[in-house]
């Protein structure tokens, strides 16, 4: 990995004095090693429109981060890039400090341990709540394994546990199509838990929820963050404050401001483009 990177960067290194370039690179690399997600200089355009513009974003191992920003800021697109749905035009995207995510597709990235909840809740509507969880449950993804799969006591217990966590035990056998919007959001979070990923990307989890449900979701995410790395995109500032974590504000595809919720929300740039309106 090390050697590969050196070869790639040789043209750059040739311009600058050799030793200085190397140390700078080494610093950068050791910084990368400590991250679970590492995006550097990432750009992506759709038909000439730059949705992500030289974006750099680091998520530490075990960290939870909240992302805010106006509609169209590129929050969802950033998740698309991390999960392999969209290929960046340029820039580096690393998982766990070493895995180059631009070289993998969605299923590969998902099985590495990156789980995602979509902005528009997407569950399998033809299935019951329980079957949605069963499909997401960590384990082999091969066709033969699926054909010959037998549910064991351990899985049974895991599903019961998740149902309890997401408060859907009483709707276990209900069709996912009949859930309320908020319940679908929770079911999708449950599916994320079932996958047991290392990183959870959670896109607008409280849209369409009552205040009580929103509070409950914040509690749930804080709980999850105790042993996972989490990125939460949300507009609800009360909810973001409730999470009590570092905040990144995106605007026009790059980071506008980063820091504690108080610092970011009082940042004049943030007030102007986002909060002020």
């Amino acid at each position: 990995m090390n050697d590969m990177a050196m070869i790639e960067e040789r043209p750059l290194a040739a311009k600058a004095p050799q030793h200085a370039a190397l140390t700078e690179r080494e610093v950068q690399e050791s910084r990368r090693k400590e991250t679970i997600l590492y995006l550097d200089g990432v750009s992506v355009s759709f038909d000439g429109f730059r949705a992500i513009n030289n974006l750099s974003f680091l998520l530490g191992k075990g960290e939870m981060r909240a992302i805010i920003g106006p509609n169209g800021a590129g929050k969802t697109t950033m998740m698309d890039i991390v999960t392999g749905k969209t290929r960046p035009d340029e820039g580096e995207v690393f998982f766990n400090g070493t895995v180059d995510l631009t070289k993998h597709d969605e299923p590969a990235i998902a099985t590495m341990g990156i789980g995602r909840k979509f902005q528009k809740p997407t569950v399998f509507e033809g299935h019951t709540v329980e079957d949605n969880l069963a499909l997401a449950l960590a384990g082999s993804r091969s066709i033969l394994a699926a054909i010959f799969h037998r549910r064991d006591a351990e899985e049974e217990a895991r599903i019961a546990e998740i149902l309890d966590t997401i408060r859907l035990t009483h709707l276990r056998d209900a069709s996912a199509a009949n859930l309320s919007h908020g319940q679908k959001q929770w079911l999708e979070i449950g599916m994320l838990l079932a996958q047991d990923p290392k990183v959870l990307l959670v896109d607008e989890p409280v849209a369409g929820m009552t205040d009580a449900e929103t509070e409950e979701t914040a509690r749930l995410l804080r709980d999850i963050a105790r042993d996972h790395s989490v990125v939460v995109v949300e507009h609800d500032m009360g909810f973001v404050r409730d999470l009590g974590v570092k905040v990144t504000c995106l605007h026009e595809g790059s980071v506008l401001s980063e820091g504690s919720i108080d610092n970011v929300s009082s940042d004049p740039k943030v007030v102007e483009v986002y909060l002020g309106r």
Partner: protein
């Protein structure tokens, strides 16, 4: 052991009931034909045995389409190609069984090859003098074509209408190819004038009875296979891919392989149906590849109810019975009737006969549970979910 578990999981009372009915028909119809004198009121005439034997093959064919269309959501408009290929593989065996009894009396070459002045058997006809080889090819050839086709189509993420169109193009291309004399499959006339199967005359009542029973048994196995598959985790995965393909990728599944497995399994089932069909009708020709045939299969499945197991079987039998009846006096109206039927089902009965019946049944049960709750009796909040697709 594992397979036994898999099969048991697929069994619910509807499946057991339909298996019993299929096997009972498989035994009773040929028995009533062979054992009773022609004058007996319960005697089943031979032409009925032949007709219903054909319907059983169509039912298996519709069930196989249901596996890809109803469960995985791939609308194949070329499914008839796999049926025809299975039929041709069986036809080649039957041709080679004729031996020196052909019109030209060549010990090896079928008549049409002698007629074309061919000196020796083309390489791809080798082995078809053996039943086991032909039986293998009945499954391997359609399965292989489905694998190659599906590998490219599904991996390049061709879906929806585009996929339907290329499946239709596939069967059309095969039809044109099989029409050509120099392809070596009898061209326009196809393969016919069969004499023996496994040493028994294809015309004999006993052979027809055995073929009828074999068709019923194959259909029963098909039902068992689809229901076991549907009840497994893979079955749930098929539905998930049908309803939200992209979503399955983000939990680590590869929908292209989910589709590929179903597509190949369905092609093998269709091939078996075609192989049982050919000795019962006595001919296989390129017309079986006609795009219209594949569309008919879709109509049977839609009428009966896709995504259910019994639906396509009932649809295939009802629509074909209607076809036999109508073509008896007004054959020119059949295509209009078929088109009208499809439009009517799409508009008024989108879930088909069986799908609608299941909904009605569930609705009744919910009403009954609701009444019970009103009276203060214990009733489950939601009724027990129907197992598998039934």
């Amino acid at each position: 052991m594992i397979v036994g578990h898999l099969l048991r999981r697929g069994l619910n009372r509807w499946i057991v009931l339909s298996l019993a009915v299929i096997l009972a028909i498989g035994i009773a119809v040929p028995a009533l034909n062979l054992l009773l004198p022609v004058t007996h009121p319960l005697h089943v005439p031979t032409y009925i045995v032949a007709l219903f034997g054909k319907y059983l093959c169509y039912a298996l064919l519709a069930l196989s389409l249901d596996l890809v269309w109803g469960y995985v959501g791939i609308l194949s408009l070329g499914h008839g190609a796999f049926f025809a290929l299975g039929g041709y593989a069986m036809g080649m065996y039957l041709m080679r069984q004729i031996g020196p009894r052909g019109v030209y009396g060549d010990p090896v070459l079928p008549d049409f090859m002698v007629f074309l002045n061919w000196q020796e058997l083309p390489w791809f006809w080798y082995g078809f003098d053996r039943f086991w080889f032909a039986a293998l090819m009945v499954m391997v050839v359609p399965g292989l074509l489905a694998f190659i086709f599906g590998w490219f189509a599904f991996r390049s993420r061709v879906t929806g209408v585009y996929l339907s169109i290329i499946t239709q193009a596939m069967t059309y291309a095969l039809m044109l190819a099989f029409f050509r004399n120099n392809m070596g499959f009898g061209g326009n006339n196809g393969l016919t004038d069969f004499k023996d199967i496994l040493g028994y005359s294809v015309q004999a009542g006993e052979t027809r009875a055995a073929l009828f029973f074999a068709s019923a048994a194959a259909l029963a196995l098909g039902v068992l296979f689809v229901s076991a598959l549907g009840a497994s985790r893979y079955g749930k995965l098929m539905i998930a891919v049908r309803d939200a393909e992209a979503r399955t990728r983000f939990i680590g599944y590869r929908p292209e392989y989910v589709k590929l497995f179903a597509f190949v399994a369905a092609a093998v089932m269709a091939g078996i149906a075609g192989a049982l069909y050919v000795p019962q009708v006595g001919i296989i020709n390129p017309g079986e590849f006609a795009p219209a045939n594949s569309i008919e299969i879709v109509v049977w499945t839609a009428v009966g109810g896709r995504g259910t197991i019994i639906g396509p079987i009932i649809g295939a039998i009802l629509v074909n019975a209607g076809k036999s009846w109508l073509t008896g006096f007004a054959p020119e109206f059949w295509l209009f009737a078929l088109g009208g039927l499809f439009v009517a089902v799409t508009l008024f009965l989108p879930k088909g006969i069986v799908g609608t019946a299941i909904d009605g049944w569930d609705g009744l049960r919910r009403m009954r549970d609701g009444k019970r709750r009103e009276r203060g009796e214990d009733a489950p909040l939601t009724g027990p979910q129907p197992e598998a697709a039934e």
